[in-house]
Structures are given as C-alpha cells and as structure tokens.
Amino acid sequence: MNCASTSNGGMLWLLVKVNLLQTWRRLLSVRQQSWLLTAVIAMFLAGYAALAFFLFYKGLKFAGSFPGLGHVLIERMMFLLFAFLFVLLLLSNMIVSYTSLFKNRETLFLLPLPVPLQTIFQWKFIESAILASWAFLFLVAPMLAAYGLTQQVRWHFYPATLLLILVAIVIPASGGAWAAVLLARFLDRRSFQVGLLVTAAMLIVFGAVWLKPVGVTDEELETRVLIVLDRLLGKTRFALFPFLPSYWVAAGVQQWAEDALGDATFYALVMASNALFFGTLVLTLTGTAFYNAASIVLSRGSALGRWKWYQTWRKRRAVDALQHGPVDRLIGAIPWLKPDKQALIVKDIRVFWRDTTQWGQTVVLFGLLAMYILNLRHFGAQLTSPFWSHVVSYLNLFACALNLATVTTRFVYPQFSLEGKRVWIVGMAPIGLPKVMITKFALSTAVSLCVTVGLMVLSGWMLKLEFEKLADLGLSAVVMTFTLNALAIGLGTLYPNLKEDNPNRIVSGFGGTFCLVASFLYIVLSIAILAASSPWGRGGRIDLSWVLGGRAVFLGLSCVVGLFPLKSGLRRLATFEL
C-alpha cells in the first residue's frame, strides 16, 4: 500500500516535472520570437497593472472621501468584487478543466499508460487550476495593492492576503473540476439538458428582475442620497451571505487591513479548512468518475443525439446533403458574382460557421458591446448635455473600432495562412490567388459592415443623435471597417504562416502582433482627428475648412493604412510560389 502510494506520488511528480520542463523551454523560446511581439506583450502587462492600480487607487480614494459612507461603500465593493470574481473563476475553471480533461491530447496519451487514473486527474486538476486562476491573481493584485495603500496597512497584509487568495483558489478549482466531470458525464442526457436550460433561464429572469434599473432623478440624487444609496446597497446584499467563499476572502482581507488579526485568522482558517476538505475530495475520489466521463466523451456522437427532433433533422440533412443549402442559395442569388467567387465565399462562410470557437469569440465581443450600447438608454438623463453626448458617441465609435480591430486581427488576418497546406487547392484553380484574397476581403468587409454600422446606428438611436451626426459617425465606421479589413488581409498575405493550422498561433506571430498594433494606432489617430474636427464639438461654432480638412486627413490616413498593405499583399500573391 505504502509502496503503491509512493509510486503514485512519484508519477504525479514526474508529470509535473515533464510539463514544467516543457513550459520552461517555451519561455526560453521567447528569445527566438520577434522583439516587437515580446515588447508589446510586456508593455500590455505592465500597462495593465499600472493602469489598474491607478484606477483602483483613485476609485478607492474617491469612494473613501464620502464622510460617513466611504467605509461602507468600500466594504461593500470588496464583497461584491470578490463574489463576482469567484463566479467567474468557477466558470473559467469549469471550461478549462473540461478542455484539459476531455479535449486534450496529453490526457489521451496518458490513459493507456500505467498511470493511475487518479494521478492523471490530479495532474490535470493542477494544470487547469493554474491556467484558470493566474488571470484572477493578475486582476486582484493591483486592486489589493491599491486597497492596502489607501488603508495604510502594515507590511504583513500583502503576503498574508496573497496566501489567503492562493488557498481560496482551491475551492472554485475543485468546484470547476467537478462541474466539468459532471458536464462530460451527463451532457447528452435530455433531463440534464432541460435542467441546465431551465436553471439558465431562471437565472436570467431573476437577474433581469433583480437588476432592473431604477430611475433616479437629479433632484433625488441631491436631496435623498441616503435613500438611493440604501436601495442600491440592498441589491448587493447577496454578497454578504456568510457561507460564500468570496465572503471569507473579502472579510479576511478587510480584517487583516484593519489589523484585527484574530478575526482575519478565523476567516483564513475557515477558508483553509474548506479548501482542504474539497481539495482532498477532488484529489482522492474523482479518478474513476473522470475515466467514466472521458470514455463517454470519446464515445459520444452529439450531445443532442438522444432527441427525436435532432435525429429527424439529421436524417433529413443526410437526405438533403446533395441539395443546395441556404448559404448556397443566398450567395447564388447575388447576380454579379461569378461561380468561382461564389464557391469561395460559400466555403469560407461554412468553414467559419462550423468552427464554433471562431464565431463564438466574435459573438461574445460584439454581444458585450451591443449590451453596453443598449443600456445607454438608462443614462438618458445624464446624457442630456451635448458635451457628454458628443464624448460618448465618439467613445462608442472608438470601442466599436477596437472590437473590430480585435476581430480583424483574430479572424481576417489568418485567412490566407489558414489556407495553409491547402493553398494549392485555390492556388491551382483558374481564379488566381489575388482574386481569392480580394474575395476574402470583400466577404469580411461586408460582414463587418453589417455589425459596425448596425452598432453605430443603435448607439446613435440610444443617444438620440440628430441624423447628420449619426450619418457622420456611420460613414466614419464604414471607412474604418474597410481600412481595418484591408490592413488585416494585406498583412496576413505579407506575413503568411502556411505551416500552422491553429489561427491563434498564426495571429501570435510577428505579422499578427504588427497588425494589432497598427490597427490600434490607426484607430487612436482616427478618433483623435475625427473628434477634433467634429462640427459638433466646438460649442456649435462650425469652421468648415477645419471640418473638411480633418475629414480629408482621416480619409488620407485610412487610404494609406489600408491600401498600402493590401496592394503590397496582392502584388506578392501575383508571384507567389505554391
């Protein structure tokens, strides 16, 4: 027994060592990476930490400046922040654990080896917890530093809170791993799916009712601030439920900051005992459940396979497989498109649509932006001032363009590289590579235009902008959409990576980083030029030459940034050797 357990521990250590060696060598290979990429990553990391610290520090100082209320507000914000971060951490652990346990080649490699199932699970649990939680540490570190500074804590606050948070991470990691195993085990059960849907619907309805915006007039804010605040705090009381792990962390951190070391130690011990209990359960009793779930995931055709309607749909689809689908019919209806270009567009749409990770990220990015824009209506009273309306409308254009830049870099830039080993298929076809890329450019621009112009119109409508202003913003969005797509397609062709199938890896090379940086600089410059030369931004005084000059500079900049790489890319393709 003793011998077996030593050997299992030894195997876990062996797995940890091999993966540490792999990680170390990956880090060393950063030296071979382009300096621009390394510099950009370092700059973003340092910039985020500095900016987050600054904003937290200023925010905490501001909240603390309300006499009599500051302490209550800061305390509640801490409880709320940790509650939301814990939920995010739980979800992130669940997703990472699912991928790591059931969609990972290393797991499949280890399963036929004489490594105990529990040991495989333990290693994957550790790996997932680290992958899912490092960002949490990165998020809370500047906040805790700012909190410590504003509360003028003693030196031991920092190591003590770090230790508390490291222990706290075990609880969502255990919950996430268990949830991933359960999800894998029962995902194809109809009752499980119905239960999940009902729970999600109930949470959405409950959230919508609970967080329903309450109108507050300026007069109320002036005269009845305590009542308004009390109403607001009432909605956040759930974060004070004493059985929540986030409550123990937030309470422990605050007690430590106030030098109430006895209370702080109590919360730390509650946290440690729970982490030990759940951690031990997960690390000792999950091996068989994990193996059963892994076998089911490997054997599963489709999660919806048990539904009659799905089976009928599949059968019908199999029969209709040789017929033209809706995408064929839609693209085929465009009269000026030749069949070769139609085929290319249909292929690109299908490949994009069938790769859930591709469009899933786009939906999340633009979905969040749409939710923000839709919620602008609740700030109607605060946005009556023309100045703020002006600022917010340009900020919306800025946010929309930044989102678009992320999407073009992530999805449009790798388009040529993704043809990869298959480039000969389109390369040998009589259409020619330059036309292939022009078609890709047209498709990505057309799709992006629907989204960006739609969002700008929605934003203008929510802000109740007059037509001229809306048209100005809409046209600016159109120009930026063309430019960002041209830039991404052009650079993607100039810096192809034809060996790689994974778009994330293609994007993380020199060209992808350059594309992101160039897009970001172009957007910042464009918004600055547009806002500075806006006919509505100078207190109603319109200097036509200034306005037209600004627009001309914006158009010129867009042409240079978009057309130059696009033309260079097309020239390169004309002589590209397959």
């Binding site: 060696l21 792999q22 080649r105 499949l108 490699f109 399963l111 036929p112 490594v115 048990r306």
Partner: protein, 254 residues
C-alpha cells in the same frame, strides 16, 4: 494475450463494434483489416482502455482493462495513428520519461533506448526537440518509446504511415522478433502487404462485425479465391455487403 468477449460499442444509435469475440494468443502476430469506418480503431481504443465497451469485455494478458486497468496497462504498449509526443522534450528525455512511468531503472531505459534508437537510425536526433522532427521520425520515436518496457501485448494503429521503406523493414523485423519472443502483436492496417507478409492470423472487420478470422489460407478458402490477400479481402467484404443488402431486402415492411 488479448481476449475480446462479445464486445459491443455503440455511439448513440450507431453500432461501431458489434458483438466481436476474438482471442489472440501469446506470441501471435494478428493483423486487423477492414474498410474505412469498419470499427478497427474503436476496437483498438477499447483494448487500449481509452473507451469502455458498451457491453462485453476486453482482457489483456488475463487482466480486464476496465476492472484491472493498471495491471492491464503495465502489460500493454499502444501506438496510435497520430501519437502524442511532448514537443519541447528531446527524444532521449521522452524515452526516460516513459521508462520511468513503467518504473524502469535508468540503466535499463538507457540500454533498451540505445538499442532501438540505433535500429531506427534515431541517434542524430536524440538531442533535438521533438517539435523539430519530421512526421516519420516522430512516429519512430513513438514506436521506440512503446517498445521500451518490453510489453507483452503491443497494439499499433496504422504503424507504417510516414515511415520510409528502410525503417518500415526495421519495424517489421522488430515486430516479428517480439512476437517470436512471446509478445502478442495486434496491428490495424490498410496495407494488405504488411498483413500478408507478417501476420500469423488476419481478421477482417466490416460494419462493426468481425466477418472473418484465420490464416491467409483459411481466408482464401472462406472467400473462394486463390490469389493475393487483396482479392480475398475484396471478395469477403463484397460478400458481406451483398448479404447485408439481402437482409435489408428480406426484412418485412413495418
């Protein structure tokens, strides 16, 4: 020894492996043939313990792969068609890692790894990162790592893919030597020449069922052909397809 008893694997409504019973004794070289989607890889995955059977059982050297997984895996080596390797390790580091998972001591790992590396001409690559190796070389690294612990059951899925003719010969020689030394070798392949040249017995799978098992001569007799294995294989699978069609036609309408 490998024992498959009434083995069934269902993927939803699809029966991927349908009531397969087969015993491959110690020291036998067994080749599993079949058209695409016949159920060969699913059968191999169940032998390797990657998937649990829907019903029936798999025993490796007398150990049930579901009930006694650790004991079964200690006897087994499995090389899939696209093996996973740690990209940032060198082949030598990878061999040491695998050897230690099988609780081998360093001297033995070194001795066996040196022997097989030399036979597969891997010596120039032993210190290079695996990520820099060609597909064929990676396949050779996977095969050497599987041979390290001198398994009593060796299961390979399409082992010759990507390997040059010279080293394909080396692999065939090694597999034959191992089988003569008592290792049960179970390979799935589409290369009929490999099965014809190497296998003591051949099994043919079709639509999840094991439709024929035997030596080359037994299969020839069963198919009614007397040419190469290719003709035997085509005749047997065609007969089976015809029987299936007839079965469908004779089924009373519901």
């Amino acid at each position: 020894m490998i024992e498959l008893v009434n083995l069934v694997k269902k993927f939803g409504g699809l029966v991927a492996v349908n009531n397969v019973t087969l015993t491959v004794p110690r020291g036998e070289f067994f080749a599993l043939l079949g058209p695409n989607a016949a159920g060969k890889t699913t059968t191999i995955k169940m032998i390797a313990g990657l998937m649990k059977p829907t019903s029936g059982s798999v025993r490796v050297s007398g150990y049930d792969v579901v009930q006694q997984p650790l004991e079964a895996r200690r006897q087994l080596a499995y090389v899939p068609d696209f093996p996973f390797l740690y990209d940032k390790l060198t082949p030598w580091e990878f061999f040491r890692f695998i050897g230690r998972l099988f609780l081998m001591d360093s001297a033995r790992i070194e001795r066996v790894a040196r022997e097989f590396s030399a036979r597969f001409s891997l010596d120039p690559y032993l210190g290079n990162p695996i990520e820099s190796l060609s597909h064929g070389t990676r396949q050779k690294v996977a095969i050497v790592s599987a041979l390290l612990h001198e398994p009593s059951v060796f299961v390979l899925d399409e082992p010759m893919v990507g390997i040059d003719p010279q080293h394909a010969r080396v692999l065939k020689d090694i597999l034959k030597e191992r089988s003569r030394a008592g290792t049960t070798v179970f390979i799935s392949t589409h290369q009929l020449s490999v099965a014809e040249e190497m296998a003591d017995r051949i099994g043919i799978m079709h639509e999840g069922r094991l439709i024929a098992v035997g030596t080359r001569d037994e299969l020839r007799r069963q198919s009614g052909t007397d040419g190469a294995l290719e003709q035997t294989f085509l005749a047997l699978t065609a007969q089976e397809s015809a029987a299936d069609m007839q079965g469908v036609a004779q089924k009373p309408a519901v």
